[in-house]
């Protein structure tokens, strides 16, 4: 672990030096911001000036919205996910669980600055990005028309960073209450390179294998990260749960959530933050953002009702943990679809996801007996998969005319438009995400197990990770 730290510090220091050069190059004024001042009487010049001002106004509006969205998505990890997961564990592990989410905010940001963003979005192969944006080289206030022509490339970079943070944080639900902190850190660094970066590049990067708008082989529709975020994290979570084994005492000992109250607050913050996640994925403050915003809300609402209704029928009571879990499942499922489907389709996707994830979490998990402690797979893996497939059914050119032929004529998008082949493309995307998550995670777990060991000793697990790993307690009554 020590040697790893030295290497990280060295790499970081080098990045700071290299960054100085970048700051100078990116300080050039924006082309769109320049206004011509020669011969004010010429109408051509005045027209040019007007166009420049219009572009500037649009850029200013889009940038304001996108910076807010980036902040909203960060809020999903901390405090959103930290509270949601923190409430679900036992009292003795609340801090360790929150620490996992919070440390992703710090760790992934640094990795992203050094190399992560480049591996996702610099020109590269169809499987992974290149090193052109190493140390954020060339990422400044000028827009990159490939990805988002009206906002600074730096805004795009920081918005994408927030996705790279929450994705690994989601996995933590599967190995909660038993993984070493050092092992978690090492696992997440490797996971970010081996699973997240290639998947994000394949789906969203220019020339990526699955990219729908920028020349992919199998155009997979994934508006905000059903495959990139939820399938990768959810399936990796399942692999982690199986590889690490059950918690000491599971399932004989009761391990109820220590505070559903914290989880409710967390789920509400997730719901609000998700507007940044999905509507922000329009990358502009436009009608598509509004459409995605509405779909997001509708998906969450319908799924909360679906889960609670299923529970009401089976147990006689709708639970609070049920409605919030349902809402999160709906948000997961609507994520890939949000920018492609209409509001009524969003209701259907949400309702299906709510009932399906309820069944996955209560029946399937019990049937196979794996200890996915906080249901990272049952909600994100299962919800992400069903959402990605249903996107192929409900996507429509009326919401997002993403497919056009060479003459610019709009082509059908999903099954309801008459493009049944899209489901196959979605399936390819889903299978690649599952495969990458399974094999990537297995290899990483083997390596980390060999280097630092994955689980805490049994006596530490019984004592609780808060004290054993961090020397603190979440609730001290003497203070």
């Amino acid at each position: 672990m020590k040697r790893l730290l030295y290497v990280l510090v060295l790499v970081f220091a080098f990045g700071l030096l290299a960054g100085q050069g970048i700051a100078q190059t990116s300080a050039q004024p924006k082309v769109t911001g320049q206004t011509a001042t020669v011969s004010p009487t010429s109408s051509d010049t005045r027209l040019q000036e007007l166009e420049a001002r219009v572009a500037e106004a649009q850029s200013s509006g889009d940038n304001a919205w996108m910076l807010v969205c980036a902040a909203l998505v960060l809020m999903m990890t901390g405090p959103g996910l930290a509270l949601f997961y923190g409430g679900l564990v036992r009292k003795k592990n609340v801090l360790a669980t929150m620490m996992q989410s919070f440390s992703m905010m710090a760790l992934i940001t640094v990795i992203w600055a050094v190399v992560g963003f480049s591996l996702c979005f610099a020109p590269g192969t169809s499987l992974i990005g290149g090193l052109g944006h190493l140390f954020l080289h060339g990422v400044g206030s000028a827009p990159d028309p490939t990805y988002a022509g009206t906002i600074p490339f730096g805004t795009y970079m920081v918005f994408q960073l927030m996705f790279a943070i929450i994705t690994p944080a989601l996995i933590c639900g599967a190995f909660a209450e038993r993984m070493k902190f050092s092992a978690m850190i090492l696992f997440m660094i490797l996971w970010s390179f081996i699973v997240y970066d290639p998947m994000a590049h394949m789906v969203w990067g220019k020339g990526g294998f699955l990219n729908a708008a920028l020349g992919g082989t199998f155009p997979t529709l994934d508006f905000a990260g059903g495959t990139v975020v939820h399938i990768t994290s959810g399936v990796s979570a399942l692999v982690c749960a199986l590889y690490l084994g059950k918690r000491v005492g599971y399932p004989k000992e009761p391990m109820p959530p220590h505070s559903v109250v914290l989880s409710v607050i967390g789920a509400c913050l997730l719901w609000v933050g998700w507007f940044g996640f999905n509507a922000g994925s329009a990358l502009a403050s436009n009608g598509l953002a509004t459409s995605a915003f509405i779909a997001t809300d509708f998906g969450a609402a319908a799924a909360a009702i679906g889960w609670a209704a299923a529970e009401w029928v089976r147990n006689g009571k709708p639970s609070v943990l049920g409605v919030i879990s349902g809402a999160v499942a709906g948000l997961v499922a609507i994520t890939p679809a949000s920018g492609f489907v209409g509001p009524m389709s969003a209701l259907v996707i949400g309702l299906v996801a709510g009932v399906y994830c309820y069944w996955m979490v209560t029946k399937v998990k019990a049937r196979f007996g794996y200890d996915d402690s906080l249901d990272a797979f049952g909600i994100h893996g299962a919800g992400g998969t069903i959402g990605a497939l249903l996107t192929g059914v409900f996507a429509t050119s009326a919401i997002n005319p993403i497919f056009k032929n060479s003459q610019g004529k709009v082509l059908p998008v999903g099954l309801i438009d008459g493009n049944s082949g899209q489901i196959l493309n979605q399936l390819v995307g889903v299978l690649i995400a599952w495969g990458l998550a399974i094999f990537g995670t297995l290899i990483i777990l083997k390596v980390v197990d060999r280097v630092v060991g994955l689980r805490v000793p049994e006596e530490q697990e019984i004592q609780g990770l808060d004290l054993a790993l961090h020397g603190e307690e979440g609730y001290t009554f003497e203070a």
Partner: protein, 112 residues
């Protein structure tokens, strides 16, 4: 001097307190506790997993009284805490050897 320890339903606490004040009991110590007697617990369900909760929330009242107040206090508690259902709780009475007020070192009934 006797110590009365009463374990009651939390919802009856305000009534019991009022009844005790009425007969002249001036001090008491109250704790939230968990426990069960013959009363069976209940089931909680979290994401489909059932948990049997057999320790239920109760309120424990402790007070040390001069002998003359013991019987009225027991009656007051029984009158105010009884709902007639299983789980109403119990009263225990212990002898107390000595009571000392820390502030001025008074002893015996004067310290109560």
């Amino acid at each position: 001097m006797k110590k009365i320890e009463a374990i009651i339903q939390p919802s009856r606490l305000e009534h019991v307190k009022a009844a005790l004040h009425e007969i002249g009991v001036e001090g008491m110590t109250i704790q939230d506790v968990r426990g069960h007697g013959r009363q069976k617990g209940h089931t909680e369900v979290y994401r489909g997993r059932e948990y049997n909760v057999d320790l239920l929330p109760k309120t424990k009242i402790e007070m040390v009284l001069p002998d003359r107040l013991v019987d009225p206090a027991v009656e007051a508690i029984m009158g105010a805490a009884k709902t007639g259902k299983i789980g109403d709780g119990k009263i225990f009475i212990h002898p107390v050897e000595e009571a000392i007020r820390i502030r001025n070192e008074e002893r015996g009934d004067a310290a109560l």
